[in-house]
Subunit: 196 residues, 2 copies
């Protein structure tokens, strides 16, 4: 017989990166919290789900439309950074060095997993490029097989429109170790070397 | 400005064992799920919180009172296994070898953390032992400082009532390695050695 606690454990299990032991720990924790704390948690879930939507311009997650980045008149409108997920936007924003706009694809091309061109926000990206004067598109998809394939596909399409296309650099991560770096990373780091 | 997504991330952060990166991942995951899935998750939380209560006999978490273990007439009522948390009951039940009853203390003695005798379900345990004919109390508190102190405290109290008190064995875990075992574990494993 499944108790409500088992069902909650199962729900936690379905979240990404949560194993059965963590799920059980979280379920036990929740039921032993005061009712007011559980209400706060549930309200936060409901509120986030109800009020976070995709920006109709860049498809980032936001409680406003257009999102604060697309509406910010101080940002450089001639550059669009193309990423796979809203989390990638947050990561690049945290780095603090980029002041252009974004476009969130919501995935990367992966035909074996059934993710094709029409499943990503590629048509919307091309429309955006057609309607506005963009000088550079930075392809910041992940440096893995799917991300590289997506970047190659987009680069060909966008270059035909006469827009500059760049790819984020592959190199050694900060705190990395040359001895243990994989070949592709090291090759990229050497190829992308900078004058000092 | 905190978005609803930031607030949900903060709520996930407050769960045990969830760091800021995992919290962010979970928050993004939730808001990108279909509304029906989010409703299922919220319902599971509300349902578990509303319907899981402490058993009035053993203080285990259960949707029934008394809990299924306390109500199970096939279980050995002459043995009570004392544990710190409801999760410990589940762990021992999964081992499948114990057929007596339980008593959940809801913590272990830790005066420095402000956990004293009156904060645990110790009075209720002594009342239970006074009202029923229990032959053995197995002390299955954790083998750490607080758990050992709690076991010692309870052993003295219960022995004066003329009831047999045992402590779960300290020894090498299955798959363990003698070379890397700590001294206290090894000493316990030798002291608790069994005839073959």
């Amino acid at each position: 017989m499944d108790t409500p606690l088992d069902k909650l454990t199962e729900e936690f299990r379905r979240l990404p990166g949560i194993g059965v032991k963590t799920a059980r720990k979280l379920a036990y924790y929740i039921v032993q919290q005061p009712a007011s704390r559980v209400d706060e948690f549930v309200d936060a879930i409901r509120d986030a789900k109800a009020n976070m939507h995709f920006c109709s311009v860049c498809f980032n997650l936001s409680s406003q439309d257009p999102c604060p980045i697309c509406s910010d008149i101080s940002r450089d409108r001639s550059t669009i950074c193309v990423v796979e997920t809203p989390q990638d936007v947050q990561a690049i924003e945290r780095s603090g060095d980029y002041h252009g706009l974004y476009h969130v694809l919501h995935g990367a091309l992966s035909p074996l997993d059934g993710v094709n061109v029409e499943d990503l926000r590629i048509r919307e990206l091309l429309q955006r490029l057609g309607n506005t004067t963009v000088k550079e598109v930075i392809l910041a998809t992940d440096p893995d097989v799917e991300g590289e394939a997506t970047a190659l596909y987009l680069a060909r399409l966008i270059k035909t429109a006469g827009i500059r296309v760049t790819r984020i650099a592959r190199g050694l991560p900060m705190g990395g170790d040359i001895e243990y770096a994989d070949e592709a990373t090291l090759a990229g780091a050497v190829a992308n070397r900078q004058e000092m």
